[in-house]
Structure formats: structure tokens, C-alpha cells
């Protein structure tokens, strides 16, 4: 296995396993995570997986090494050896209901017009795709999702919105995703899901994790309301 180690400040080491987003890099990232979870080294505070990297945050307080960075790098090299035996978690398929259009996805007509489609065609294409969660980052529970059809790709808004409601489904370029919490953003909004993606009181606090497969499906306003259970 080929990898490079880089410092990210004085309390983290980044393991780079590739320089391009690829299924191969994703697989190695998942194996490294599995290995870290299995071994749980004492100096490890936490790790942050991304497309082609895993960054480990370490504690400088814990050990009396003269050079903690070199020490941790040596530990990581040892840890990454014999990685083949590590089993990786099975992929789940998570189905995400979406109420498309109108107030819940006010840019759907823009996305349709931009691609010379009808609103129904946009929904049909968006719900027929098979997506993969590449990483969770940027915001609590925010999934970076790959696999959207270029037939419904649309540019970001020229002026970002200051407030996008939580659980809004959007499109930006070739990406699609869901804002777990209310935030500003420039994505084109096409719908809203009744599902919470950020679950602060459950373990884990995120509906999705890297590696999950996703399918979107359309629901009606009545179904949406029912799934929210009267909570807005």
C-alpha cells in the first residue's frame, strides 16, 4: 500500500492514500478507519476521513516523547502494515424520502429549465440514481454524495442564500446533498426530507456514514407531514 504522511499543525497527521477521488482510494480510507477502530492506539484522540485522506488527531500531553510527531508517524506506519486482514464494514442502503418542489425546493424549476427538462423529469432522474456517501464533513452530518446524473447538473446560485432550512436537498454542479442543519449556502434547492441527518442525542449522531449507498424517493406533502409527526 502506498501512502504519504503530512503534519497538519502540531496535533494531527494526515495520511494521504491518493491524489484523485477514486473507488480505490475510498476503499483504502475505509480500511484505515477500520484498523484505527480496531487498534484504538492510546495517543489517538480522533480521526477525520475524507476522499483520499485520513487525518488522525493525537494527544501531545499523553507521552514524554521528545518528538511526538515522529513518534506518531512511526506508530502509524506500523499500524498500516498488514492491513489486508482488516474487514471493512458492509455497505448499507439508506432510503431518503424527499418532498420535491414548491416551498420546499424552490429552485427545482430553475434546475429543470437549465437542463431543458420538466419538473417531473428532474424528480425522476434524481430518484433513479444510485448514490454513495464519500465523506461526512463541513457540517454535522453533512454528506458529500457522489453519483448524480449530469442530466440534472446545475450551477450554484450567483448570490448564496443566507439561510437554508435544515433537511433541504440541493444540487450544485454535479453534486447533490442535504443540509442537515440550517446554514447559508449557494446550492439550488429542489426538495426537503423529513429525516433528520444530524442526531445529537443518538450514537452515532449522524444518519449517514462514509460508504453508505443512498436512494432518494418522492413523497407527498401528507406523507411528509406524517413522517415529521407534527414537528416542524
Amino acid at each position: 500500500m502506498r501512502y504519504n504522511l503530512f503534519p497538519v499543525g502540531d496535533q494531527a497527521v494526515l495520511i494521504e492514500v491518493g491524489t484523485e477521488i477514486s473507488p480505490a482510494a475510498e476503499k483504502i480510507v475505509n480500511r484505515i478507519i477500520a484498523r484505527l477502530e480496531e487498534l484504538k492506539p492510546a495517543w489517538l484522540i480522533e480521526y477525520i476521513p475524507a476522499y483520499t485522506t485520513v487525518t488522525v488527531v493525537y494527544s501531545v500531553k499523553g507521552f514524554n516523547e521528545k518528538n511526538p510527531y515522529d513518534f506518531v508517524c512511526t506508530c502509524i506506519r506500523e499500524l498500516l502494515e498488514n492491513m489486508n486482514e482488516v474487514s471493512v464494514r458492509e455497505q448499507r442502503v439508506v432510503k431518503i424520502p424527499v418532498l420535491y418542489g414548491d416551498d420546499h425546493g424552490s429552485d427545482i424549476d430553475f434546475v429543470a429549465a437549465h437542463n431543458g427538462l420538466t419538473r417531473e423529469e428532474v424528480i425522476c432522474i434524481h430518484t433513479s440514481g444510485e448514490y454513495t456517501v464519500h465523506m461526512i464533513g463541513f457540517a454535522p452530518g453533512f454528506p458529500f454524495i457522489g453519483g448524480m446524473s449530469e442530466k440534472i447538473a446545475a450551477p450554484r446560485r450567483e448570490t448564496p442564500r443566507l439561510q437554508i432550512p435544515s433537511r433541504t436537498v440541493g444540487i450544485a454542479g454535479l453534486q447533490t446533498g442535504v443540509y442537515p442543519i440550517e446554514s447559508p449556502g449557494g446550492w439550488q434547492l429542489i426538495g426537503r426530507t423529513p429525516l433528520e441527518l444530524f442526531l445529537p442525542n443518538t450514537d452515532p449522531p449522524s444518519l449517514l456514514t462514509a460508504g453508505d449507498r443512498i436512494r432518494f424517493y418522492e413523497i407527498t406533502l401528507e406523507q411528509y407531514k406524517e413522517m415529521r409527526g407534527g414537528v416542524e
Partner: protein, 331 residues
């Protein structure tokens, strides 16, 4: 219990941070100035990671509904009780019914109010830290408001003896006559020299930008908050524009977006970022960043990781000794 009579500009409950959940995109948060937060806790006999009130630029007015031992560390936000200045960097006994009023910052920008026992708000994902954007931690996941009531955890042992030592018949507050060695205290100013390590994408910047980064000064913009500081100075540009793959960022990552103005990420930073990082602030200088306010000047001095970690080890040793010395005072 403490009642908020009047909130400050942005008072939030903060502890040592919410670690372990960055893989789910959950920010670490925690005290912006970890040094002042920890020392404030030490001074009231706490372990160091207990929840404190972090206030920025303008502090609140707080009514103590019970006797308490407090300490105030960090920037000088002019704390007063009944018009009398309250000394910082010391334990202070405060009598039930007294009102602690902060003003505007005259030095630095953030202060920490620690209370013996710590502020007892619910723990969310291993932490009491307020993360306003996700509405979690602290008090209902938001900044303090008028009428809020802060519960105080029961303190035992040391804090009780501090209270006994300092309690008098009359005065609404009392502090001991000793104080922390001034050499340990942060130097608050309008110009900060900050130690920085090269960032992972340092080599992608052109030579002019690399030179400017180390040799020119940057002004803290008013668009700065717990998430990050925008700083203005010479425009920093890449040798050639490249599209980066998002990767982890940390407290102190100095990112440079396409407009050339750096953003220094702070406690409430997002977990990942897609902009090139020219530098990484040395952990022991988070205090300087946290205390810098809009208009202050920052200059960057290069250090290696080894040097930076040596300084961390020294600071850790100093803090351990400080805690031991404080405990001796109350034995």
C-alpha cells in the same frame, strides 16, 4: 445558580471541546483560548476541563443567587462588583446576592468566568460546549439571554476550603493577596507575533506570497468569529490555480481562498476544507488568536513542528506546576 441580568455581546458556555465526533462532521468547538479557560478552572480548584462562560468584547451582568468561588481569566472586560473592580487571574469569593458586571474589553477580547464545580448544563456528545450553528450544548445551544439561569455543579473538597478561607462577614467579594506569576500570563496588545508552521500546501504558493506571508503584517477583519478569522494584508496567490480535494482542517489552519485573503480557522471551524493551507498556527499561540480583535495586527514567525511541540511540553509542565501551586495555597 446564576441569573443573567443582561447578556453581553456573545456569551456562551464552553468547555475543553467536543472531541471524537469530527468523523460525523461535528465541530470540536470549546474555549477559543484554551489556556485562559484552563487556568480559570485551576484557580477555583476545578480539574481544568469544566464548563465556563466565554464572553467576547462586551461581557454580561450576572446575579449570583448563591455563594460561589469564581475566577476570571483572559482579556480584560472590566469585571466589577458594586462598582469595585474584581481582580483577574485569582480565585474570588462572591457572596450570594452580588451582581458581577462586565463592561467592554480594554485589553484582549475574550474572558472566561470559571466557577468552583463548573457550570452544570447537560452534556451533549461528551461536551457542554455551545455550538450555536447546530443548536447544541450550553444553554439550549445558544448564547446567553436575559433571564437565563446557569446551574452550578456541587463542588467538594478544595473549593469548600477556598470558600472558607475567603469568606468574610461583610464584603460582597474577596480575593487572596497572592497571584499567578506574571511571566505565565498572556501579553495582551494590539499587535501579536504568532508562531506558524508551514501548511500542507505551502509550496503551492508563489514566492512573492510566501515572502509576504512571513514578512508583512495582517489586520484582523471585523468578519471574524468563533469559526474563523478573516485577515487582510498582501494578497496571497498560488503558482497556478488548482482545485483541491476537501481534507481535514484543524484549529489554527490558515486557509487561502481564491480572493487571496487568508482565513484562520478557530474553535468552531468546520471539520474539512477545500482551500489550500499556507500555514498552521502553533497550539500554544491559540491564546493570541483568541484575544486578537478587529483592527489588531498579526505577524507570523516560522517554527518547525519539533519547536512547537517543545513549547507545548514546556507550557504543559508550567500548567501542571501552576495547578499544584494553587492547590497548595488552599491546603
Amino acid at each position: 445558580m446564576i441569573t443573567v441580568m443582561k447578556p453581553g455581546l456573545q456569551d456562551t458556555i464552553q468547555d475543553a471541546g467536543r472531541t471524537g465526533y469530527q468523523k460525523f462532521g461535528v465541530v470540536v468547538g470549546g474555549a477559543m483560548d484554551p489556556f485562559s479557560h484552563r487556568v480559570a478552572n485551576f484557580l477555583v480548584g476545578n480539574e481544568g476541563q469544566e464548563a465556563t462562560v466565554e464572553m467576547s468584547l462586551v461581557g454580561p451582568r450576572l446575579l449570583f443567587e448563591q455563594d460561589a468561588v469564581i475566577s476570571i481569566c483572559g482579556g480584560n472586560l472590566q469585571p466589577k462588583i458594586a462598582g469595585v473592580p474584581v481582580p483577574a487571574w485569582k480565585p474570588v469569593f462572591i457572596r450570594k446576592g452580588s451582581e458581577l458586571a462586565f463592561g467592554a474589553a480594554v485589553a484582549g477580547s475574550r474572558a472566561y468566568l470559571a466557577i468552583a464545580g463548573g457550570i452544570d448544563v447537560p452534556v451533549v456528545m461528551n461536551s457542554r460546549s455551545t455550538y450555536v450553528k447546530a443548536k447544541i450544548g450550553g444553554l439550549e445551544g445558544r448564547a446567553l439571554r436575559k433571564g437565563d439561569v446557569l446551574p452550578i455543579a456541587n463542588s467538594t473538597g478544595i473549593p469548600a476550603s477556598i470558600k472558607q478561607r475567603l469568606k468574610t462577614q461583610e464584603a460582597s467579594f474577596r480575593a487572596p493577596d497572592w497571584q499567578i506569576a506574571t511571566t505565565l500570563l498572556p501579553n495582551l496588545s494590539n499587535r501579536y507575533v504568532i508562531r506558524v508552521m508551514r501548511g500542507r500546501q505551502y509550496d503551492l504558493f508563489d514566492e512573492q506570497s510566501q515572502n509576504d506571508f512571513w514578512n508583512k503584517s495582517f489586520t484582523v477583519s471585523s468578519l471574524s468569529d468563533r469559526m474563523g478569522y478573516r485577515i487582510n494584508g498582501p494578497s496571497l496567490t498560488l503558482k497556478k490555480q488548482t482545485e483541491m480535494i476537501s481534507e481535514a482542517v484543524t484549529y489554527g489552519s490558515i486557509q487561502v481562498p481564491a480572493d487571496g485573503n487568508p482565513i484562520i480557522l478557530a474553535a468552531d471551524r468546520q471539520t474539512t476544507g477545500g482551500y489550500p493551507k499556507i500555514g498552521q498556527i502553533s497550539s500554544i499561540n491559540f491564546t493570541k488568536l483568541a484575544q486578537a480583535k478587529a483592527g489588531d495586527q498579526l505577524t507570523f514567525n516560522e517554527v518547525t513542528i519539533t519547536e512547537s511541540q517543545k513549547l507545548m511540553a514546556i507550557q504543559e509542565k508550567n500548567l501542571k506546576e501552576l495547578r499544584a501551586a494553587i492547590l497548595t495555597k488552599f491546603r
